[in-house]
Amino acid sequence: MNAPARARYDSIVVGGGHNGLVCAAYLARGGRKVLVLEAAERLGGAAVTREFAPGFSVSACAHLLHLMPPTLFRELGLAAHGLKLAAEKLPTVALAQDSHHLTLGPAESALLAERSGRDATALTEWRALLKRLSRALHPLLAATPPRLGTEAWSDRAALLGLGWRIRRLGRADMRELLHIGGMCVHDLLEDRFSLPLLKGALALDAVLGTNYGPRSPGTVMSLLYRVAASQGADTLSVPHGGLGALAEALANAARAAGATLRTGAPVERITVREDRVTGVVLSSGEEIAAENVISSADPKSTFLKLLGSEHLDAGFVRRVAQVRSRGLAAKLHLALDRLPQFPGLTEAALRARLLVAPSSDYIERAYNHAKYNEFSHSPMLEVTIPTLADHSLAPAGKHVMSVIVQYAPYALAGGWHDKRQAFTDRILDTLAAYAPDLRAAISASELLTPPDIEREFRISGGHWHHAELALDQFLMVRPVPGAAQYHTPVPGLFLCGAGCHPGGGVMGLPGRNAARQVIREAA
């Protein structure tokens, strides 16, 4: 090895996505010399804004900000680093074919009461319960998960702490948490609510970005997770300039703390010497040494591609290879010459998050196709028109529509190459039921299937959460036992991406937890 300047950096963070940037910012604030290496020409990973048609830009993967906990914004001073919200506390509109749409969000219970007094009461109760539960669960997400079966004081303290917080919820809430914790969201909604449109909207949040339908086990857990991550806030917002602006603010925070950020620098391999990580080699052949390497890449890419099986035990590699990481969500971007009309909604109302999930059964039917590697014939959609609040994304008077589409299997039977148009047509047909003049307004479109997401964002399987969020890939078994506490079997190698606890979405907690673990272990 021709020795480069030996360990000019304490830590190299592989990948400049939001978790990599969060991790770098916290490491740098902890006094470490940090280098972030991003393969793409711009930072942000899946939190990125880019042009998809001349003059039209969009948040190319995630399009709403709702999981990142307020503490993280505060600690990193993101507002001071340039993050401006174009819209916050966005309502959600559950679209109905009869134009009798249902708006959820601020003042939802008054709106709901007009249709069903019972559901209005039940929703208020349900939101309050979620808030209480999220307070008990959030500390669990904001820390390194405890290991099971050890004698270590810290592991026992973490488990006791969780037990204590759940106990403190009181008898009724504790019983309810244990009752619903393992349920499927469909059953839960059947128990509590009656309006199909309401149940569809609530079920969507439980299955968005996952490989599940509302009747799949564990979907209540993923809903609890979503609420607990954001400390119960669960408010939807959009940064001015799209999600890419969040990445810029994170990058500014990292730079201000002293981190060095490099783009266009794909890591080819993580180097190991005498069973210790020594740094990385870039595709250009450049070697960079560091005390430790923290990878925000997904577990399969990190272990199987960048590190290599030969540095790991076979049983561990098998577990990594078996991590469920095939994406089921696609993204459709539309460049619009004019704002389409949604009968029943004013222009102001279109700023909301629009859902095509008219019932829980509708979602389950959409999911049925995916089980057999077909795309949904009537897909479930989460739609935003970001240009209503942020004119910087499109030419004056024109608009962008950003749609998350489920279900679009990664391994579509027969492959995606000749089915892209057919799927796009299905999505547009589905949308046309709510916005009849939509097609005529489209000047350009872009469909990102899970294989496209895999390619563009370098996520094996194209799964938004890097690894499915499910009980068997959760907490101390996320992504796999042996790598669930951010450190890996190879000394000096850590994980900080969405594949780690507490998981995916634009949340930032994996990056924050990992940085704290790295600093703790160095102490």
Partner: protein
């Protein structure tokens, strides 16, 4: 062959290519299942067969040994990450005995690795390993193929084995060194017009001079017949597994399911064994780079042993089968247990392999074995002294001599 239509418990045991010959020689029809085959436990009498190993030559059918062919650009890297020894040191024409472990450093199986050519290996194992090998192959460009049924295998072991093989026409066999293999040709029929080619390795499970013959199943009976014909005047005998077991204990070799249970099969926690605990530390090369279980074994070295497999020399003549071991004669505190035991007719010693707790693993330590004597159905309990001694118990110079003595 397995038949699709029958459930597994009705599947007939397979017959090896030597089966018809073995059946013809067997006097007591004592067959036992081994890895899906029916094989001979005893042909005539255990001691008689044992003495063929130590005093003349023995034929032992080891076709059921599970055999894999490992090929591909990453075959060497794959094997080096799989097993505990450094396979880079294994040149074409060489064989190495080795073990492999799971992530926790617990033993999965032992076996031999034959280097046929660069990135071309054959691995012989006691139990089926395809699942573990395939898990170990993730990230390696390697092809793993089981060839158990495609290769008939016959061990020819004993002080006269080289002479016997020479007598059936394997020219140059005397030049084969221990842990080497090569291609040999056996002339067949009158004048040697037809020829049988086979791979021969100087390996075995007896601790004696001996060879293992790897051939096409179609040639198996001809090879057997030739060896038996030449051997009829040389005290050559086919042997069963019981006689071989006596010899392997004398040689100090371990057997799965007797001296350890594969970590792939253990159900109770704490019954897995590491190669260090089995006294196989000499097989573990910590310097070669990473292999599965290395980190766990390093931690075990740092922690120090909890127990180890040792050789015992036990007072008296009654084999200490399954005996519990105690720290002193009172039998109040246990110190381990015997895993394999035999009276050694050659050493004239009462031998055993035993898993012994850490304080008693040093050579020269004494433990006490609890033995039950059956005196014409009158049972007596004896506490007898057992000394920890060096293994192997029996290691004649002839096992390594090249060329072997021309007896």
């Amino acid at each position: 062959m397995l038949t699709e239509s029958e459930p597994h418990y009705r599947q007939p045991l397979l017959k090896t290519p030597f089966h018809e010959r073995a059946l013809a020689v067997s006097q007591i029809d004592s067959f036992v299942p081994w890895a899906g085959y029916t094989t001979v436990d005893v042909f005539t009498h255990v001691e008689q067969e044992y003495f063929a190993i130590r005093n003349a030559s023995s034929l032992y059918d080891l076709t059921p040994m599970v055999k894999y062919v490992i090929t591909g650009p990453d075959a060497l890297r794959f094997l080096n990450r799989l097993v505990t020894r450094d396979v880079r040191k294994l040149a074409p024409g060489k064989v190495a005995y080795t073990v492999w472990c799971d992530d926790a450093g617990h033993l999965i199986d032992d076996g031999t690795v034959f280097c046929i050519a660069p990135n071309q290996y054959r691995v012989c194992t006691a139990e089926r390993q395809l699942d573990w090998f395939q898990a170990s192959a993730i990230g390696f460009d390697v092809e793993i193929r089981e060839v158990t049924e495609e290769v008939a295998a016959l061990a020819v072991q004993g002080p006269t084995s080289a002479k016997l093989l020479k007598a059936v026409g394997l020219a140059g066999i005397e030049r084969l060194k221990p842990f080497e293999h090569g291609e040999f040709v056996m002339p067949r029929g009158e004048g040697g017009a037809a020829r049988i080619s086979m791979m021969v390795s100087r390996t075995g499970f007896t601790g004696d001079l001996g060879y293992e013959l790897w051939m096409q199943p179609a040639d198996a009976e001809s090879v057997w017949d030739a060896l038996m014909a030449v051997g009829s005047t040389r005290a050559v005998r086919p042997i069963g597994s019981r006689a071989l077991n006596m010899a392997r204990i004398e040689a100090g070799f371990v057997l799965p399911n007797l001296d350890f249970v594969s970590a792939a099969h253990t159900l109770y926690l704490g019954t897995e064994r590491s190669p260090l605990e089995l006294g196989l530390a000499w097989l573990v090369d910590f310097k070669k780079g990473h292999f599965t279980g290395r980190r766990a074994l390093m931690a075990e070295v740092a922690r120090g042993p909890l127990r180890q497999l040792v050789g015992l020399d036990i007072e008296g003549t009654k084999p200490a089968h399954n005996a519990l071991l105690y720290t002193d004669r009172s039998g109040k505190k246990e110190a381990g247990s015997v895993t394999s035991a035999t009276w050694s007719p050659t050493c004239k010693r009462n031998l055993a392999l035993a898993m012994v707790d850490a304080p008693y693993i040093a050579t020269g330590s004494t433990v006490w074995a609890e033995i039950y004597l059956n005196r014409e159905l009158v049972w007596q309990r004896r506490m007898v002294r057992a000394r920890v001694v060096e293994r192997p118990f029996f290691a004649p110079a002839r096992r390594r001599a090249t060329p072997p003595a021309d007896l």
